[in-house]
Subunit: 129 residues, 2 copies
DNA sequence: ATAAACTCTCCAGTTAGTGGAGTGTAAAGG
DNA sequence: CCTTTACACTCCACTAACTGGAGAGTTTAT
């Protein structure tokens, strides 16, 4: 199938699919005469896999690893689980950071009157070394 | 003062300070003969302000806005508060997204035995359109 | 035959820096 | 005074993961 159809069926943009092909994440055949990429059903499955993995916050590189595990019939599920647990840890770290940030910003915002006067504890806090 | 001292006192790297000068976030004087940047105390204060605002997740562009509010003695605190509340909303959205992601990944990881066998519900989920 | 829709490649831009090459300047030690 | 070391400079390339657009060729529908 052409790139447009592959993109539609994987919920990716044509640009993104082309990008994935450029970096070798999928390897569609190319029609020599027209230069059009030709995506097989397997290529499509890979695109769909990657689209889903990206939604789960896996990086492109991690998507490659997952893809190769996916196609490796001798894989052990613990490898996949390890990647997933790492990702969860990453998310946990980010959550902690963001929660702390939110707490601090809320504190500042709560102390700021938010009126037409110039006095502002938020700016004061930013200026305070 | 030279860039090295300014960097140290603002907890930024020399590279970063140079970058901030390049994009006009600070405007140190330049020694014509040597080409060395010369940071005043005010320049340093700006760097410290930006360093702190960046830690609070404000983008460079938002830092510029905050800086201009900071130096505007006719500002109204509600402008600053609005920026801060926007930032908090942004963080909230991100928190929701990450929490949901974490929930889904945990669910998958919990269902994966993580042994030497190839069967893996995580990969199954990624492959499932 | 022509117009619309689709595809291609190539280049540039996005964020907020970071790394390195090659070169010039300043301060300290001998 | 000379040399080493530390610091400074510019310029270019690179990061992640695309996105936008130009200019050109192809396919499909009217």
């Amino acid at each position: 199938m052409n790139i447009g159809k592959a993109a539609k069926l994987s919920n990716l943009t044509v640009k993104t699919v082309r990008y994935y092909a450029d970096i070798g994440l999928v390897k569609p055949l190319k029609n020599c005469s027209t230069g059009y990429r030709d995506f097989s059903d397997d290529d499509l499955a890979q695109l769909q896999f990657v689209a889903k993995a990206r939604k789960f916050n896996f990086s492109i590189q991690e998507c490659e690893e997952l893809l190769s595990l996916y196609s490796d019939k001798n894989r052990s599920s613990k490898e996949v689980k390890a990647l997933t647990l790492d990702k969860i840890s990453e998310i946990d770290a980010k959550l902690i950071e963001l929660k702390d940030l939110r707490r601090q910003l809320s504190f500042l915002a709560n102390n700021c009157k938010g009126n037409d006067r110039p006095e502002c504890p938020i700016l004061d806090a930013l200026a305070d070394v």
